[in-house]
Structure formats: C-alpha cells, structure tokens
C-alpha cells in the first residue's frame, strides 16, 4: 500500500486541524475514550438542542489517524439527530471492519470514507474507531 492512500491529504489536514479541538462553553455531557495499548485518550463534549446534536468537540491526544477520525466524525455528526448519529456510527464501524458498504451507505459517511483503507491495517483499527465508540457511549448514556 502507498503512504498517500492511508495518510491521505484529507486525513493529514484533519489531523492537524484545530477546528474541532476545543472545550465547549456549554456542554450537556462529556465522555472519555481511551486506548490502553497505546495510552492515547480523547474526551468528547456534546451539546444537544431540539433533539439534535447542536455542538460537539474534542480534546486529548493520539495518533494522526485517531485525531483525523475524531475531527471528521465531528464534522459529520454535528447537526444530526441522535438516531441518525447512531446509524452513521454503525455504518462507519462496519466500514472499518472491512464489511462491504452499499453505495448509499458510503455516501452517507461523506468524508469519513477516506478512512476505509484503515480496514487493511488491523493494528490501527483501534485508532480509527476510538472517537466513534466514545460518541456512541456519549449518546447512549
């Protein structure tokens, strides 16, 4: 595999971006997610409004893949309803598991589809899914 097909420009951009890396001024809940075998962790903060996810942001540290995945996820999820968010999380987790997605499903994921190749790197799957699992906990809690 090629470096550029995993660490794509989009991933590099998101991993460096600080747009979604912040503390919310008003939050409804927060959730910490961690990967024991690398020691990395992130914290997600969420704010709901009118049944929708009004704001979402993260702090913490990790590898480029985990940071990019978190940032991409936030862009995708913000503004969505709980149910839709959970559905998107589910689709994303199946993408990374290497399950084939339908075209329609891929479309729903938007930019997050760039993380598809991670499914060929078993050692890094945990990085791609960290934020998504954390968000699932956060929404369900």
């Amino acid at each position: 595999m090629e470096l550029s097909s995993i660490y794509t420009e989009l991933i590099m951009e998101h991993s460096r971006s600080s747009r979604n890396r912040r503390l919310l001024e008003e939050k409804d809940r927060e959730e910490r997610g961690h990967n024991p075998n690398c020691g990395d962790d992130i914290t997600l903060q969420i704010k709901f409004a009118g049944g929708k996810i009004d704001d979402l942001a993260f702090t913490g540290s990790g590898c480029a893949i985990s940071q990019a995945s978190t940032s991409i996820m936030i862009d995708l999820i913000k503004g969505k309803g709980k149910e839709e968010a959970l559905e998107l999380i589910d689709i994303f987790l199946r993408l990374i598991k290497g399950d084939g997605l339908t075209e329609e499903e891929e479309e729903k994921l938007g930019e997050a589809v760039v993380l598809k190749n991670i499914s060929y790197m078993p050692a890094r799957v945990k990085c791609a899914v960290l934020a998504w699992h954390t968000l699932k906990e956060l929404i369900k809690s």
């Binding site: 090629e2 470096l3 690398c38 990790g62 590898c63 480029a64 050692a123």
Partner: protein
C-alpha cells in the same frame, strides 16, 4: 568512524544452509549479508517487500537449522519423555536432556539441575515470584526493582509485595538512562530481600552493571534476579561469574522457537523452594492427600514439556555458538555506533538512552518530531521496515521519562548498516509527508 566501519568478509560456505563460521584469520567481524542467507524469512519478499527487520527485542527470526531441528524432532523422534521404555520416549527424553545440558553449558551453570525450562521469561519470573517470593519474602522486607523493568518483572513483584506486605522500591535512572552507584546504594539496603533487574533495558538499550550490583546486593544480604530476556541473546553470560541467584530468558528472543524459556537458579535455592506448578512427572509418590516431589529439575516442570521447543532452543544455541557471542555483540555494537552517529545528526529526531557505547547495546528508542510513534511504525512498515512503537511493556519507565510512547529499533546478527540507511530514508520520507505533504 573507524570503529563503525564494518570489515565484511565474504565466505563461500554461505550459500549452503549451514551456520557460517568466520575464521579469526579472516578478520574478527561477522558478515550479516551472509548470515541472512541462513534465515528463510529473508530469502523471500515479505508481503511483497524486502524485509528490514528491526524488531529483535520483541522476537527474533529463526535460522533454517532451528526450523529443521524442530521439524526433524516432530517427524522422527516425537514421544512423551520420561517414564517410557519405548524408543520414541527414550529418544525424546535424551533430546530434552541434551537441550538442558546445552543451555547449562551456554550460560555456564554448575549443574543441569539448575536449568528449569519454562514457557518464556514471564513464566520464569512468575515461578520465582510464586515459589520464592510468596514463601520467603516477609512483611517489612523490601523488593528493589529498577524503573526500567519490563512489566513481566514488575507485576509479579507488585503481587508478592501486596500479598506478603513487603515494600516495592524503585531505583531511578539518571538523565542518560543509567543507574548511578548512589542510586543503587541508597535503594539496596539491609532490608532488601530481593533485587530484580533487567540485564539490558528493552527501551533505552542501557546495559546495567549487573555484576557489580549483584555483588553489592549480596553484601547487603539480598538475592538478585536478572531478567536476561535482553541479555543472553546479545552478550556472553557466565552465571557463575555473575553470581546471579536467578537468571531468566526466552528462546524466541535468541533465534529459538516460541513457547520455551529458561529459569536458571542456584541449586540451593531451587532445593528449598516449593514446586510452582504441580501434576504430571514432578512427583515421587502421590497418595490421596499428599505427595512427595521429584528431585531437580523435574520438581519444577509439571506436565508434558515442550520438547520440540527445547530441541529448537538447543539448535539456536548451536547456531549462536558457531558464530560466537563475542562477534555477535561486537557486530551489534558496530551497528549501534553507526546508527547513533547517523541519527544524532538528524534534527527532527529525539533519541533516548545512553550515548556512551560502553554502557549500552543495540536497542535504540527515538521519536520523530510531529509524528506519533504509531503512525511512524505504520508508515515505515509500508517500506518493509519492522520496528516497534508504544510503551514497550515498560509503562513505569515511560511515565518516568514523561513519554506516552516511543519508536524502537533493535538489532541482531543479521542486521546491516544498509538496514539503518533504509530506515533513515524512510524516516525522511515520513517526515516530509507529514510536514508538507510530499514524499
């Protein structure tokens, strides 16, 4: 630079699958290009790429001779050793005993009774913790570890300390990753019952002055366990000269098979220690309620042992001996000098561990500015380079160094200067990609 310029020797024998013996007359260096031919993994592309294997501290690759020894045993000589009068059982017993003798000679133990086969280093340490620690370490005693220990040489002692109400004390490292005399003297005292120390740090590459520390500990009345997982494979060890009380290591880190490790312990200690695992052949007489135990070494080997693992380990020792541990060590030192010299010149790299070659072996930890170690490991893997990223099962050390993770390369006899050059090229490419999106 002169000490790092390798003087390669070309040897015709190399094309055969025999270990290569380098005559002294031909110079005192080994030729890793020739040695590589003894290792099948380097003969074919791995996942479509030339393999550059720099993860030897995790596990080493196996020469044909080791693989063949295991295969031959499994095909022709397999039986359950001990107690059987039939040919295969006798043969398996004989090969198992010979392997034990081979290990004894290799580490220069007094007697084969002092060689207990285990699954790996971790099990060997657990054996000592359960059998010695849980029975001979008492309330108020102190167990002294270095902060550089592998989890396998920490967790069992945390458990002993907790159960026996003993105290765990850590010897910290100086800025260069060394153990100072002062630190040793301030931690090892009359209250110390046991000192547990790795021969070489699997993170920093520091080779600790184990002989001196053992001597000092003995003066204070303490016993010493040396975790030799990173010792034996790389330096000549004479357990009698070291005067170690316990010395443990793993076959898979010294060209041998997985599933076989060794506990060396002084006979007097093994004699008074109760069995750890029980059942199978480690008994003399068993009644419904009690049992008496077999003499050493069987007392500590319960159930059917891994004979093929032991046979493979013996073949690995033969291979190492055919090269010479002194030459292997020198080769690793040459590579380390070369790598340190090149890497110290690269501004985006931070190196950890001693800079003085006298105090270290062929394990180098580093980080690349702006690249998370796990990303780096994935990126260099795309170039066929195997290195390790993470906490290296040494979280207390990492915390002490204020690191979450590092990248680690570790050398063995088949590594070359070219491996290091290729690594650095790969690091350069990763660095440009991460800085500005070009390769």
């Amino acid at each position: 630079m002169s000490r790092v310029a390798l003087n390669y020797i070309y040897n015709e024998n190399a094309r055969t699958r025999r270990p290569i013996i380098i005559n002294k007359e031909m110079g005192n260096k080994i030729n890793p290009y020739l040695l590589k031919k003894d290792f099948p993994v380097f003969q074919d592309k791995v996942d479509g790429r030339e393999l550059i294997y720099l993860d030897n501290a995790a596990t080493t690759q196996k020469p044909y001779t080791v693989i063949e020894a295991v295969r031959k045993y499994s095909q022709q000589f397999h039986g359950n050793p001990h107690r059987g009068a039939h040919y295969l059982s006798v043969k398996a017993t004989e090969l198992y005993d010979q392997a034990r003798q081979k290990v004894r000679e290799f580490i220069k133990a007094r007697s084969a009774k002092e060689i207990i086969f285990t699954r790996n280093t971790t099990e060997a340490i657990n054996l000592v913790a359960y059998s010695y620690g849980m029975n001979f370490i008492d309330e108020g005693d102190e167990i002294v570890l270095s902060i550089a220990e592998h989890h396998s040489n920490i967790l069992p002692w945390q458990q002993v300390a907790r159960s026996r109400r003993a105290r765990l004390k850590y010897m910290y490292l100086d800025e260069d990753g060394r153990l100072s005399k002062d630190e040793v003297k301030s931690k090892i005292t009359e209250r110390t019952k046991l000192v547990c120390l790795t021969h070489m740090s699997n993170v920093l590459g520091t080779i600790f002055p184990v002989r001196e520390i053992i001597e000092y500990a003995h003066q204070k009345g303490a016993l010493v366990l040396i975790d030799g997982a990173q010792g034996i494979p790389h330096v000549e060890v004479d357990v009698q000269e070291l005067n170690a009380d316990f010395y443990v290591f793993s076959g898979h880190k010294m060209l041998g098979p997985m599933g076989i490790g060794v506990l060396y312990a002084r006979e007097e200690l093994l004699e008074v220690m109760p069995p750890f695992l029980s059942g199978g052949d480690m008994i003399e007489y068993v009644s419904e309620d009690t049992a008496s135990f077999a003499p050493l070494p069987e007392k500590f080997e319960a159930g059917t042992q891994n004979v093929e693992g032991a046979v493979g380990l013996a073949a690995a020792i033969d291979y190492l001996n055919s090269i010479g541990m002194d030459k292997i060590h020198q080769h690793e030192q040459d590579l380390t000098a070369y790598a340190l010299e090149r890497m110290q010149g690269i501004s985006y790299l931070t190196l950890y561990g001693p800079t003085d070659l006298e105090e270290r072996g062929g394990i180098i930890s580093f980080n690349v500015a702006g690249i998370h170690p796990h990303d780096l490991a994935s990126i260099v893997d795309l170039d066929g380079i195997a290195l390790r990223a993470g906490h290296h099962c040494a979280q207390p050390l990492m915390k002490y160094l204020q690191l979450v993770a590092s990248c680690r390369i570790s050398f063995y006899l088949y590594n070359t200067k070219e491996d290091i050059d290729q690594l650095i090229d790969s690091l350069d490419r990763a660095r440009s990609w991460f800085s500005n999106g070009t390769k």
